[in-house]
């Protein structure tokens, strides 16, 4: 319905080529020019490091209880303070962050893989396969996902592995739908038609012509998928349905901290701050990737 005017030379110019840049180098260069994205990368790396080795750096273990220092504000021996049970907030947060990251990354990777195969496959194979796949996707979108997530994870007492499975089960539809719609426009492209006429097999066409073109979309979705998963898991754990005691995730820490919010704000501040830093950093990276890999999308917009 809506077409765009070219923003540089109005007549389309068919002529001589610009100096050839390796495609990968072009992407890296465009990404590097984006300062917020760079900041995002730095922040994410710091958080990743914290999650990985934070527990080893401190002399406390995340489940240790220091009865001499209950509900203590941040200080020399406990860098982020302690909670009512004497647990060291620094290490607990590191463990919680680790847990949340593992869940989010696994779910995101699984989701992207499933969505790509289902979405691209349905779009290319067409016909009844496509119609049924879409029907399944639409149905799952309508079902009250959060409710079911809560029900099931409550039953399994917050086993994080089951949580990964569940979140994947309810997460793949959104991306699959987007990938399906992009793939349908791709399959109409002339070069796909040509490949058919040249006798290339369908499987090869999907693998060689369709999936690589989705690459940019998949990478961006991977990054942003981590963010949405973190948010879902946090909400679930906060309400008491996701990760439960004795295990710890940022969401459950948030729930614990909410009770004593004005008397012991550090119990809230640590997980809250980490969550915000993580999600913002990943969003900046995701936006930066989108700008670098697919500058034609208007959703970006860095001047």
């Amino acid at each position: 319905m809506i077409t765009t005017l070219p923003t540089s030379a109005p007549d389309d110019s068919p002529a001589p080529p610009p100096p050839r840049l390796g495609r990968a180098r072009l992407y890296v260069r465009r990404f590097a020019r984006n300062r917020p994205a760079g900041a995002g990368v730095v922040i994410f790396l710091v958080l990743f490091g914290y999650a990985a080795i934070g527990g080893h750096v401190s002399r406390w273990n995340w489940s240790d209880q220091d009865f001499l220092a209950l509900t203590e504000p941040p200080g020399a021996s406990h860098w982020f303070g302690t909670n009512q049970g004497g647990n060291d907030v620094f290490t607990q947060s590191a463990h919680g962050l680790q847990r949340s990251l593992v869940i989010a990354l696994s779910v995101s990777v699984l989701t992207v893989v499933i969505s790509a195969v289902v979405g691209a496959g349905a779009a290319y194979l067409g016909g009844r396969v496509e119609r049924w796949t879409l029907a399944v996707i639409h149905f799952l979108l309508v079902v009250p996902a959060f409710l079911i997530l809560a029900l099931v994870s409550n039953r399994v007492s917050g086993d994080w592995r089951v949580l990964i499975l569940l979140l994947t089960l309810f997460g793949w539809m959104f991306t699959a739908r987007v990938i399906w719609s992009v793939s349908t426009s791709l399959r109409e492209r002339d070069y796909v038609l040509m490949a058919e006429f040249m006798g290339v097999s369908r499987r090869r066409i999907v693998a060689r012509h369709i999936i690589p073109h989705l690459g940019a979309l998949l990478i961006v979705n991977l990054t942003l998928g981590v963010v949405t998963t973190v948010l879902s898991e946090t909400a679930l754990s906060f309400l008491g349905f996701g990760v439960k005691t004795p295990d710890v995730s940022l969401g459950s820490l948030l729930a614990d901290g909410s009770v004593t919010i004005s008397s012991a704000p550090w119990l809230f501040a640590a997980p809250a701050g980490l969550l915000v830093l993580l999600t913002v950093a990943l969003t900046l990276i995701g936006d930066g990737l989108r700008d670098a890999l697919d500058p034609t999308s208007t959703a970006g917009g860095h001047g």
Binding site: M1, I2, T3, L5, P6, T7, S8, A9, P10, D11, D12, S13, P14, A15, P16, P17, P18, R20, R23, R189, D190, Y191, L193, M194, A195, F197, M198, G199, V200, S201, R208, H209, P212, H213
Partner: protein, 675 residues
């Protein structure tokens, strides 16, 4: 004495780009007079659209225009948006290229025209609506009062363009700018729209600035012509003078490379080597120098200024005198005529009998209900023999592309039969046989950019069909080098990506790829319509050479009859999915028998002002009906220009009985009761 309406002095336009500012227009001057049409001719990168946009003050954000554009003494470039808005639509009206997206989808057509009136004149809503209905009638929309309530999506491309013209003339402007107004339209619709523009000009007495790349349109409708190349005007003259005695080698080349529908016996076109330069790369000397056969040493040093050669004829070329009186073939070198090899009774490479294809028309998003049938192709029969070129000609909706795709699928068609190299595709064929047939028929598509996967380098692109056919690595490498040589491309380009090549080069690549499996039949879907005019001749000549060299047969789909004239041996004319006339190219052009063929031929503009303005034209009324409801009788019945001249009994026969193809000795076969 005609009035001076608009005067452009030293206009220069720069655009921002990733590589720094780019000069699209580099100092041009024009004068436009009331009641006269100035045609601005140019190809990609010439800067003609940027010129139009700067007159209207509609350049995109970031672009800058310098110089003077004087309308009645006032410099339009100095006006801010608010003051310029008072001029736009009132003193200057503009018609754009793509009618399909030019109208706001959520307002009715009548509302949009009425709004255009009310922007500049204080009238009541009712009065504006009346004026809108009047204007819609003026531009040839039938039942204007009823149709004023309809929305743009309910109109075809041609009708939408009429509405755009109505918007442009709503307030009686002094100047009408038409930027490629008919490029996106079918040729018969083009003829109608050009007629509407003439009406608009007569009604308003305005000056017209017609921007186009089609010299045929220029010959028929322009009084004065300015040729633009690389951002500057390189020649300016009265239309007859320009066509008779061009002074710039570029103009001469353009004239030579334009195929003419009424040319005599088929001759190879005169190509201009190379491509038009992009605005991003400017060299110090004359921009045409790399492609000019008359270039001297000093042409590379300094760009020639526009000087007066004769009264009212200006040119920017130091070699102008050497061009005078010479023919394009003499200056640019004619390609050698390939030996005309007509085997007497060659075998049929492709035979199509009674091919039909329908599509269900559904409505509803979730539960699709079938509400009708689209008869895209009905009972099409023709064959292609070894060594000959058969052209399927028709406009959009004629079913020619669908026919091609049906053939390419190599599956038994919905009805009718399809035979490749004598083998019917319907039987159960072993896989090896099917593969052989696949390799024997290859296709070249219209848009070379879309046909090449941009993420693969040239080597992978050319290797793909070879690998699918089971060729080994060594053999593939050799064959690729051979193919590149065949199409005239250097062999060191194998690692580059399609984006690095120009349009003409990309089309050569798609041709090379199509030849990889040594096909016997090459199917081409509008092979040159997406290319610049000066580049088309080169590709057409290449195709002719390859045909002779490799003994190929061609099935070409085209809507441009001028192009068809130069390459076809036999032609089938299609309308609404039916073949209405088929026969030898010579016979068809000399003595067309079906009224649609006659109208089609008549609609193609001839690039010669004298012939173009004096010939008799047949302009069809109305629009092509939908293929979802085919009439019982002849499909062309409702628009046929011959119908009013027939007896009542014959007219009844046309309405009741669909005619079939009837041959005439020494002529073509036509499906017409009155042929």
């Amino acid at each position: 004495m005609t009035n001076l309406v608009l005067s452009i002095r030293d206009l220069a336009v720069t655009f921002p780009s990733e590589r720094g500012p780019v000069e699209a227009v580099r100092g041009i001057g024009l004068d436009l007079f009331a009641g006269r049409t100035l045609a601005l001719v140019g190809e990609s990168g010439s800067g003609k659209s940027a010129t139009a946009a700067s007159i209207m003050g509609l350049l995109p954000v970031g672009a800058q225009a310098r110089g003077e554009v004087l309308l009645g003494g006032r410099d339009l470039l100095a006006l801010d948006d608010r003051r310029m808005s008072a001029v736009r639509g009132k003193r200057i009206g503009m018609v754009f290229q793509d009618p399909l997206s030019a109208l706001t989808p959520i307002f009715s057509v009548g509302r949009q025209v009425a709004d255009a009136v009310r922007v500049h004149t204080r009238v009541s809503k009712a009065a504006a609506r009346e004026r809108a209905v009047e204007l819609l009638g003026l531009v040839g929309i039938s039942q204007p009062r009823r149709r004023a309530r309809d929305f743009p999506h309910q109109f075809s491309g041609g009708m939408r363009q009429r509405v755009v013209i109505a918007l442009a003339i709503a307030n009686n402007p002094d100047l009408i700018i038409a930027d490629e107004p008919t490029t996106a339209l079918d040729v018969t619709v083009q003829a109608q729209i050009l007629e509407v523009l003439e009406t608009a000009k007569a009604e308003t007495g305005a000056a017209v600035l017609l921007i186009t790349h089609d010299l045929g349109v220029v010959a028929g409708h322009a009084d004065e012509v300015a040729v633009m190349y690389a951002g500057r005007i390189v020649e300016r003259a009265e239309v007859r003078e320009l066509f008779a005695t061009p002074a710039m080698p570029y103009t001469l080349g353009l004239l030579g490379s334009m195929p003419a529908p009424d040319a005599g016996r088929r001759l190879p076109l005169v190509p201009i080597e190379g491509e038009p330069p992009s605005p991003a790369q400017r060299l110090p000397g004359c921009p045409f120098e790399p492609r000019c056969p008359l270039a001297r040493a000093d042409c590379r040093d300094k760009e020639p200024a526009l000087t007066e050669l004769r009264p009212l004829h200006q040119v920017a070329c130091v070699r102008a005198e050497h061009v005078a009186g010479r023919r394009p073939g003499d200056v640019f070198g004619r390609a050698e005529q390939p030996p005309v090899d007509t085997p007497a009774a060659a075998e049929a490479v492709l035979r199509v009998v009674g091919l039909s294809r329908t599509f269900p028309v559904t409505s509803g998003a979730v539960l699709r209900r079938r509400v009708g049938t689209l008869h895209a192709v009905s009972e099409v029969s023709f064959d292609v023999r070894a060594g000959e070129t058969v052209c399927l000609v028709g406009e959009s909706g004629s079913g020619k592309t669908t026919t091609l795709l049906e053939i390419m699928r190599l599956r038994p068609p919905e009805s009718g039969s399809l035979e490749i190299l004598g083998t019917d595709v319907a039987g159960s064929l072993p896989a090896s046989e099917r593969r052989r047939l696949r390799q024997a028929v290859q296709i070249v598509m219209q848009d070379p950019q879309a046909a090449l996967d941009p993420r693969l380098p040239v080597f992978e692109l050319l290797a793909e069909p070879l690998l699918a056919a089971g060729s080994g690595a060594e053999a593939t490498r050799d064959r690729i080098a051979e193919l590149l040589n065949l199409v005239g491309l250097p062999s060191d380009i194998v690692d580059r990506f399609p984006a690095a090549f120009s349009g003409g080069q990309r089309q050569r690549l798609t041709i090379a790829r199509a030849l990889a499996t040594r096909p016997r039949l090459l199917v081409l879907d509008e092979p040159v319509s997406a290319l610049d005019v000066s580049v088309r001749a080169g590709i057409l000549n290449l195709l002719a050479r390859l045909k002779a060299q490799l003994g190929l047969a061609y099935l070409v789909v085209a809507h441009d009859l001028a192009v068809v004239r130069h390459i076809a041996d036999r032609i089938a004319v299609m309308y609404l999915g039916h073949v209405v006339e088929i026969g030898d190219a010579e016979d068809l052009f000399a003595r067309p028998r079906h009224p649609y063929t006659q109208a089609l031929l008549s609609a193609v503009p001839v690039p010669d002002p004298v012939r173009e303005r004096s010939r008799e034209r047949i302009v069809l009324r109305g629009e092509q009906p939908s293929a979802a409801d085919l009439p019982t009788g002849c499909v062309f019945n409702d628009r046929c220009q011959r119908r009013p001249t027939l007896t009542a009994r014959l007219q009844q026969r046309c309405a009741d009985q669909r005619p079939s193809l009837e041959p005439v000795p020494g002529g073509t076969e036509a499906a017409c009761h009155a042929a």
